[in-house]
């Protein structure tokens, strides 16, 4: 069997962030694939929550959108979106939320609103959607994005979702009752956040990736945790699940 690709490693690393019985606020694409992989391996009782108003979804196909009909069929509960946001998210029932972004800074704050000036943007991005509240209210968040220098800037063009704010105890000082970002996973490696400064630090490189390659794609002086690890390669069975059952057409993993 050919070794895991970088996008497969990203999915596997994301799946490892899910603990059994976690209630997971999930988006489409890679997060959806990661949660399904976790459910098929080490976390059979993880529950999928979609902001479209579904708890305990068990989609029989890869949904293209977070409002796919396969999310309702066979779910435990379908409810008005107001209840998902109010009772599940704001009420503190979400263990982990998955987020993506166009930009991330060293404290895990995210931009999904504009590139450039807000009034005259170079690129108008989709906006907050559910991201600002997921980032603020889920007990912890896992952020997935491709590693590119312009996506890891020194300063965000717009702060759509707050992570560890300006670091240290600043998130808590804003009134947060949740932990904020715990992991950032890219196609090159896996990051955590330093316990006191709350700055992002590289924990592991995916196999075959060098530290120089990562540094070239980060817009600030990157902190590296010692000893720097290598992302553990997935079991053959995990790869088989990904390739043959969960994403057989390569829609997400290419």
């Amino acid at each position: 069997m050919r070794p895991a690709s970088l996008s497969e490693l990203m999915a596997v690393a994301a799946a490892r962030e899910i603990r059994d019985q976690d209630v997971v606020f999930v988006g489409v694409g890679l997060p959806n694939l990661a949660v399904n992989l976790a459910r098929r391996t080490h976390a059979p009782d993880a529950q999928l929550v979609y902001e479209s108003g579904v708890y305990g979804a068990r989609p029989a196909r890869q949904p293209l959108s977070i409002g796919d009909p396969s999310l309702a069929t066979g779910a435990i509960q379908v409810m008005p979106m107001a209840e998902t946001f109010t009772y599940f998210l704001q009420g503190g029932r979400i263990d982990v939320g998955f987020l993506g972004a166009a930009q991330i800074d060293r404290f895990g704050n995210l931009n999904t609103t504009v590139i450039g000036d807000y009034e005259k943007p170079t690129t108008r991005l989709p906006g907050a959607g559910g991201a600002s509240e997921i980032s603020w209210l889920a007990r912890r968040t896992v952020i997935l994005l491709p590693q590119k220098r312009n996506k890891f800037p020194e300063r965000l063009d717009f702060r759509t979702s707050v992570g560890h704010h300006t670091g240290g105890g600043s998130r808590e000082a804003l009134g947060s009752k949740t932990a904020g970002p715990s992991r950032v996973i890219t196609n090159l490696g896996v990051y955590g956040f330093d316990a006191s400064s709350k700055e992002m630090e590289l924990h592991a490189l995916h196999p075959g990736v060098t530290l120089d390659e990562v540094r070239a794609e980060v817009g600030w002086e990157l902190r590296v945790r010692e000893p720097l690890e290598t992302t553990e390669a997935p079991e053959p069975e995990t790869l088989r699940l990904l390739r043959e059952e969960l994403d057989p057409k390569g829609v997400i993993l290419g």
């Binding site: 489409v28 293209l64 409002g67 704050n109 906006g127 600002s132 707050v162």
Partner: protein
Amino acid sequence: MSARLLSMKEAISQYVDDGDVVAAEGFTHLIPFSAGHEIIRQRKKDLILCRLTPDLIYDQMIAAGVARKLIFGWIGNPGVGSLYGIRRAVEKEQPRPLSLEEYSHFGLLSRLKAGASGLPFMHLRDYDGTDLPAVNGSIRTVECPFTGESLAAVPALRPDVAILHAQRADSSGNTQVWGLLGVQKEVAFAAKKVIVVVEEIVSEDVIRADPNRTLVPGLVVDAVVAEPFGAHPSYAQGYYDRDNDFYLGWAQTSRTAASLEAYLDEWVYGVASREEYVEKYEGELERRLKPQPNLSPPVDYGLYT
């Protein structure tokens, strides 16, 4: 007061006025495309459009020039990419300028909750430390009188007209929905006028046989329109699937102003009604999008005499 059974042409002409605040809702599911198309055909103008996710329906309406402002939570073609009609309006003011007022999903649905509840605002835990309040003066804070905590506050939103699609209603507008419910209930109770579009009209007995499934009572509905496939290319759970090929193809269709206009000419201006739109597909929608049945067993409400 009970709702009136109308054609789409009559409903839009009687209930949607130029300059109105219009919310054609439905989160991925049950998006009222046929109503959007009729608004385009009737060349309404200066509308303020609200939706959590503008989706293709507002991309088409904004490209057709019916709107001057968009109130939203997330602009995009889910799982696909950009909405180019809206981007051209924002970035190049084509075919006319469009102003934006943005929230998150929780923020915008909280505005509708306040509107539906007869309250001036709704408070929520959100936006601390973000740049959103700096670009939207309607996102403010309020102090809890009991704990002293600072909470975000957003003002009530009461659209002039809400338009909803649903699986079925009776002729009085008692509306039943299953599958994803979006913010249909909130927007219906918040709006001053409500148009419900359904796949089928059923008798009141059918509604009364399963009252838990009634999402919106006829009490708040002004007009009922029966239009099978009215939500295509969105979907109606159990009736037809989301036309994902259409959503994927929209990236190309909407890429230039000319190609988007060509679509509108053929599929919106070029047909008189949703019935003609469906006929133009020559049975393809039925063949391609109809799901296998997956019935829910009935529940026993009991007979209490």
